[in-house]
Structures are given as structure tokens and as C-alpha cells.
């Protein structure tokens, strides 16, 4: 598919719009939030999604985590598996679980100002949902990678990002990625 070349005043065609690879589904901001929920955002329109998140946290001992949702209800079953690795200025750290009731996104290593993005694969079809996240902090040195999966074939239409302790203030944007 050639890259569309739009001109001022041009009437956009369905074909041109359908060729856009990354489509903003929703964006917003939040203040002193324990949880940010997005429902009805995973649909048959896209297989894969991009989530970008900026958060400043009130309690650096809290972990940023994710649960998927269906029809407005959290899925807290023990089907989330993840591994987190990172490197502070002084030490390498890792954290993982067998299966848990949620997955980590960013760890609790005494930092705030997290800036991270996730690719979310196949949430709206009957397949494992995979979440690959990379991020870091806005000051200092703390790169983090978290690979996660919901390890049963469940169809979701949404998710929530939440803190295990404390609140977060920031912004988010969710995009659908066309095939």
C-alpha cells in the first residue's frame, strides 16, 4: 500500500483512510488515579495495539500493573505470566511470576516519572494476549523491559492500568495498528 499523499482541501477516500496504519483510539489525562480503565477499545478492527503511558506516581513502592477487562469487568484470574528486567544505576533487577492475578508493567524500584509503551497482541480474538512493554524514568537511569502474557485464549474488549499502591497522574494514548 503506497503512503497516501494528502493535500489541503482534499476529500479523503475510504481507501486512503483505511491505509492509515496507526489510528488513535483514545487519549486522555488522569490525576491522583488508582486506575485508568478503557472499555470497548479492543475490537475486530485491529489485531494489535500500541499503548503509550506517562505517569508520575505518589508512592514509589507501588507497581504499575495491567488487567484485561470484558464488558466493564476486570479479569483477575490467575492467568497472567510476566517477566520484568531492568537496570538501576547501581544494580540489575528482575521479577517474574508463574501465574498471577495481574501482570506487572513497570516495577517498584523507588522511581517515579515512568514513561513506557506497550504493544498488545490479539486481545480481541480467541488467543493468548501478549503485552510487550519497554520504558524508563523521566530522570535518572532506569531502563525496563516487561514481557507479559495472558495465557489462556480469552477475548477482551478493554483493560485497566493500575497501581498496587499509591496513585498516578499523567497521560495516555491508545492506538490501533492496522495489518
Amino acid at each position: 500500500m503506497p503512503v497516501p499523499d494528502f493535500s489541503p482541501g482534499e476529500v479523503l477516500t475510504a481507501a486512503a483512510m483505511d491505509s492509515i496504519g496507526l489510528w488513535l483510539i483514545d487519549s486522555g489525562s488522569f490525576t491522583t488515579a488508582t486506575s485508568v480503565e478503557l472499555d470497548g477499545v479492543f475490537t475486530s478492527d485491529y489485531l494489535r495495539y500500541k499503548l503509550i503511558f506517562d505517569e508520575d506516581d505518589s508512592n514509589t513502592a507501588g507497581i504499575t500493573q495491567i488487567q484485561f477487562r470484558t464488558a466493564g469487568a476486570n479479569n483477575a484470574t490467575a492467568n497472567y505470566a510476566f517477566q520484568t528486567t531492568g537496570f538501576t544505576t547501581s544494580a540489575f533487577f528482575t521479577r517474574n511470576t508463574g501465574t498471577a492475578n495481574q501482570s506487572d508493567i513497570m516495577p517498584n524500584v523507588g522511581a517515579t516519572g515512568w514513561r513506557w509503551s506497550s504493544e498488545i497482541f490479539d486481545p480481541a480474538i480467541s488467543a493468548n494476549t501478549i503485552v510487550n512493554t519497554t520504558g524508563g524514568v523521566s530522570t535518572g537511569s532506569l531502563p525496563v523491559i516487561c514481557n507479559a502474557a495472558f495465557v489462556t485464549t480469552t477475548i477482551f474488549d478493554g483493560f485497566r492500568i493500575f497501581r498496587s499502591a499509591g496513585t498516578m497522574t499523567g497521560t495516555y494514548a491508545l492506538y490501533g495498528m492496522r495489518n
Binding site: 488522569f30 488515579a33 480503565e37 477499545v41
Partner: protein, 47 residues
């Protein structure tokens, strides 16, 4: 401005964004989580 933390929700089906305060039960859980936040950095046993 609320003195309780909040939950943000966007529903793409209705197109509505809502913000609500934690319920009393949710707030009690929040305070408990705050009090019991693990020493950092954690190890897998804290999951």
C-alpha cells in the same frame, strides 16, 4: 477537588469518559495497599 483517589474510565462503545471517587470499600483497600507496600526493590515472593 476530591480528597479520595479516583478511577478514570473511557467507554468506547458509548464514547463517554467518567471519573469517580473510590468507594469506601475501595478506599479502605487502597489505604491497606499503601500501608503494606513492599520494601523496594521487591523480589518475586512479593508478587
Amino acid at each position: 477537588m476530591s480528597d479520595k483517589p479516583q478511577i478514570y474510565n473511557y467507554n468506547a462503545t458509548t464514547g463517554k469518559k467518567t471519573v469517580r471517587n473510590l468507594t469506601d470499600e475501595e478506599h479502605a483497600q487502597y489505604l491497606e495497599n499503601e500501608a503494606n507496600a513492599p520494601t523496594i526493590p521487591t523480589d518475586p515472593a512479593d508478587a
